[in-house]
């Protein structure tokens, strides 16, 4: 429920070039356009979900220059010249799953699946940095992503399994 009184999109547009999942996109955006809306509605990468638009739930998490960030707390204009990875880019192609995705399926780590893309992106960065985590570390890393369906237990199980598989 924004109360911004600016009306025109003609007043403060920016042309941005953003690399998303390896593809460079050049678009003109309003300065106030959220990165989450840009990804979802301008680039039609709707796998990134929006849950709260105030940076708490973590559903909109994407990987921005290698760091897990909340795309609802960033503007599209801030992404100019940067690289973003969304859930659509995690596995490489749409006919395969990344080991983290496979582990989530194998452990029943998702129910409605709405928070799942944000969890996958948070955990991708976490497991890259922490290849052999214990349960407490996983829970700490996961605590910025809210899930209302699973009670987290199967997600934690999935991350233990994914870490093991990724270590080979």
């Amino acid at each position: 429920m924004s109360t911004d009184s600016q009306s025109g999109s003609e007043t403060d547009d920016h042309t941005v070039t953003v690399t998303v999942n390896g593809t460079a996109y050049r678009r003109t955006v309003e300065s106030r356009l959220l990165l989450s809306d840009f990804l979802r509605h301008d680039l039609l990468l709707a796998g990134t979900h929006v849950g709260c638009e105030h940076g708490v739930c973590g559903a909109c998490t994407v990987i921005f220059d290698g760091v897990a960030v909340r795309s609802c707390l960033m503007l599209a204009a801030q992404a100019d010249g940067h690289a973003v990875m969304t859930v659509e880019g995690l596995a490489g192609d749409r006919n395969h799953l990344h080991p983290i995705q496979e582990a989530m399926r194998d452990c029943h780590g998702l129910q409605c699946g709405y928070c799942t893309p944000g969890i996958l992106m948070t955990m991708k960065v976490f497991l890259d940095e922490t290849p052999a985590p214990d349960e407490a570390q996983i829970r700490e890393a996961l605590s910025g992503n809210l899930c209302r369906c699973t009670g987290y237990q199967h997600i934690v199980d999935a991350m233990l399994l994914a870490a093991e598989r990724l270590r080979g």
């Binding site: 429920m1 709260c52 559903a59 709405y114």
Partner: protein
């Protein structure tokens, strides 16, 4: 035969799409020419509307239309009553349902006053600030007891004393039980507001196709068929002209079964009027006001007991907060009234409730749907009685269980589904024994707790028992069809919000039609794929729709066998269906199901009279009444006596929901329910001030449990099949959430030794802050 699918922990068919970002949710629907809606909402809880001036908003570039209640004309009408009051003698019910846009008066913060349709969501929200609203504030009705005072302001001008409903149900004669009692326990119990908070908020997209005379609606609803029927009636269309699709829905938990929300009524109307697709997606702030909530009851309860802890009777009088409107009838307070009885023999029961209108968001079922309030009351009464009579907490429950040979057990009152509250089957004592064994009850109390207390640690144990009425009618249906490519499709009218129907229904069908679960394609929540149904609520999807799938798949199996027998010119008994093909045992003759499906739909020639094309069947299932699941939760907790922060050290759930379709999915349901129960018990509290303003309307202030607050759980299942359906299943959706409140109260009391301080925890939600207040108040 291939391996049986029913009962196997099979991973889910739907997960690949959800995991790769390819699943369609309502906000993912993008249509050419789409407009975006934003609603102007009341800032006051109770006020007369003097004027609404939308002139400036209409003039803003990019705004296509702005509407208020007056613009809706004859379309403006209060919503329907979804659930009429059950046939209880003497019941009072004052129906006041929500309206599409407020007219004359607003009755809760967030009630919609106007809608803006604009070229973008951003512009639509800008235009909200252009609207001038003049409200004349009225006293806000917030407190339940003050609400029913004679001189209280009225939420609905023509409803005296704000009484939405009043109902009394009794069994036996409580006064005779009281006269014989050797011990009485009387207390007041509070159960305050919480919210379901699915991570996906609500949303509606509507598209009117003038050429086809067809309205298509994507909606986050749990009840697409009912939504279609209702909207068709309101918009003057026939049902066939309206298609409602509930695609992937990001959690429901009850509030998405409520209909018709104002936005669900206004958005399709605007799409038709403007002849352009319209999208509205609720934001999180709106969700705190515009989506229904639950809870808000005050119970004055008394239990009469014998000296040895046998319940002689219970009397309970409670107030129920229904919020500003009551479209869902009496479902929540009736559930509280009925579920209070739990797994126990209560020979005499006298329960009266008064539902009260307040200037708060509407109250409708949220996972548990009133059950946890009743469970809280009886479990707390038993805890207090046990302490006062010097009986162990587990033992007093054991002494009162309905014995295993007493089923079906009739409680002699009316349940939410209008049928007698009769438990179909159950066996409670082994559940308690298993829970005590898994939590290590005696060992904890006799050895561990004294040892840890000697170290200065505050550890405590709790256990709570419950029953859950599940799988109620009226009915659901399913269509099972063999496709020419050999896959099998299953369609049903209910919606899915994460319950795993795409897999569990496939498992049920797979065993009948001999096709691998991965080759069964389940469709839910699309009214053009299946016409009839009621919806996903009351832990009924698996029970009612699951059994309909089973019935339809059984008929398809018979059709497969009959056609294959004709094809092979053999007896049906000689055939075997497995791995997507039919074979004549011992001959090597095989035909694929897809080929049979094509044979069943000849393009030329003649067929026998009465022949139906295809290998398909549509069947319906309606149980005579709900199936009653049961369980025991047990927990060991450690509390920091300085900060009152707590850590759950061990959590055990022993549960009986009859035959299990998929243990993996069932465990997920239990885990998620417990997590919501934990939030409800200790973290989540909607705090309203005296003006009816919600003080913590953000996820930073309304605390959903994270992975750090929800402990690892240990689950065990016992199986007492339901005799009320052929699959012998009972629902499991709400079991995890129901008993967690009393569990926390009991375990925290035990950990902090509150009995010695004469402190009782007779309210939910608790919190560190509230524990501090309650424990320092008495010092």
């Amino acid at each position: 035969m291939t391996t049986r699918s029913f009962g196997a922990p099979i991973t889910r068919n739907e997960d690949a799409r959800l995991l790769s970002g390819q699943a369609l949710f309502v906000d993912d629907v993008e249509l050419p020419g789409m407009l975006y809606a934003a609603f102007l909402r009341s800032s006051a809880a109770h006020a007369r509307i003097r004027s609404i001036d939308v002139t400036a908003a209409r003039a803003r570039p990019g705004v296509v239309a702005v509407y208020t209640a007056d613009d809706l004309g004859a379309y403006w009408a209060p919503g329907p009553l979804l659930v009429p009051p059950p046939p209880i003698a003497g019941v009072v019910f004052n129906q006041r349902t929500q309206v599409p846009l407020a007219k004359d008066k607003v009755r809760h913060v967030g009630e919609p006053l106007a809608v803006v349709l604009a070229q973008s969501r951003y512009i639509a929200e800008d235009a909200l600030a252009d609207i001038e609203v003049d409200l004349d504030p009225l006293p806000a009705i917030v407190d339940l007891e003050k609400a029913i005072e004679h001189d209280a302001a009225r939420v609905h001008d023509d409803v005296r004393s704000n009484i939405a409903a009043h109902a009394r149900q009794s069994r036996g004669n409580y006064e005779t039980a009281r006269a014989r009692a050797e011990h009485l326990v009387a207390r007041r119990f509070l159960y305050d507001h919480g919210a379901s908070m699915p991570i996906e908020t609500r949303g509606v997209v509507a598209k009117w196709d003038g050429r086809a005379n067809q309205l298509t609606i994507w909606d986050t609803t749990q009840a697409p068929v009912f939504l279609r029927n209702g909207l068709a009636g309101m918009l003057g269309l026939s049902e066939r002209q309206v298609r409602v699709i509930a695609p992937f829905v990001g959690g429901g938990f009850g509030p998405k079964i409520m209909l018709f929300y104002p936005e669900e009524v206004v958005v399709p109307w605007a799409a038709m009027k403007l002849n352009r697709p319209v999208k509205w997606i609720e934001d999180r702030l709106e969700h705190f006001f515009a989506t229904t909530q639950e809870r808000g009851q005050t119970h004055d309860a008394e239990m009469a007991l014998s000296r040895d802890g046998k319940i002689l009777g219970i009397k309970d009088i409670f107030l129920h907060d229904t919020g500003a409107y009551n479209p869902y009838g009496l479902t929540v307070p009736i559930n509280s009234q009925c579920t209070l009885l739990g797994p126990y023999v209560v020979p005499h029961y006298d329960s009266t409730f008064t539902a009260v209108f307040t200037n708060k968001p509407i109250v409708t079922p949220y996972r548990g749907a009133g059950r946890q309030h009743g469970v809280f009351v009886i479990e707390r009464l038993l805890d207090i009685a046990a302490r006062e009579l010097g009986i162990d907490c587990a033992e007093i429950r054991r002494r009162n269980f309905i014995p295993a040979d007493a089923f079906p057990y009739n409680n002699e009152i009316i349940y939410q589904d209008f049928t007698p509250l009769e438990y179909d089957s159950g066996n409670y004592e082994p559940i308690l024994d298993k829970a005590l064994e898994l939590i290590g009850y005696r060992q904890f109390l006799d050895e561990e707790q004294p040892r840890l207390r000697a170290q200065g640690r505050h550890v405590g144990i709790g256990l709570a028992c419950y029953v859950e009425g599940t799988g109620i009618g009226p009915y659901e249906g399913a269509k099972v069809q063999v496709q020419a490519n050999g896959k099998v499709s299953v369609a049903t009218g209910i919606g899915t919000q994460g319950q795993g129907h795409f897999t569990s229904f496939a498992q049920i069908a797979a065993d009948q039609v001999g096709v691998d679960v991965r080759n069964i394609d389940v469709v839910t929540g699309d009214t053009d794929q299946f016409y009839w149904g009621a919806g996903t609520f009351a832990s009924r999807g698996a029970v009612v729709a699951g059994n309909a799938v089973n019935e339809a798949a059984k008929v398809v199996r018979q059709k497969i066998l009959k056609l294959a027998a004709e094809h092979f010119e053999c007896a049906e008994e000689d055939l075997e269906i497995a791995n997507g093909e039919v074979s004549v045992v011992g001959t090597g003759q095989v035909v694929k199901l897809g080929a049979l499906a094509m044979m069943a739909n000849p393009m030329r020639g003649a067929v026998k009279p009465g022949t139906e094309p295809g290998l398909e069947s549509t069947q319906y299932f309606g149980p005579p009444r709900g199936a009653t699941a049961s369980g025991v939760h047990a927990m060991i907790v450690e509390v920091d006596p300085q900060t009152f922060m707590l850590e759950v050290l061990k959590f055990v759930v022993v549960h009986d929901c009859g035959n299990v379709i998929n243990p993996l999915i069932l465990a997920g349901q239990i885990h998620g329910g417990v997590a919501q129960g934990i939030g409800n018990a200790f973290y989540e509290h909607l705090v309203f001030d005296d003006d009816g303003q919600l003080l913590n309307a953000s996820l930073a202030d309304y605390l959903l449990p994270s992975a750090l607050e929800v402990p690892r759980m240990e689950i065990a299942h016992l199986v007492t099949p339901s005799p009320l359906n052929p699959l012998g299943i009972k629902g499991a959706g709400e079991a995890g959430a129901i008993p967690v409140g009393p569990l926390f109260a009991q375990a925290i009391e035990n950990a902090l030794g509150l009995a010695e301080q004469k402190v009782e925890l007779n309210e939910i939600p608790l919190s560190p802050n509230r524990l501090f207040e309650l424990t320092t108040k008495t010092k």
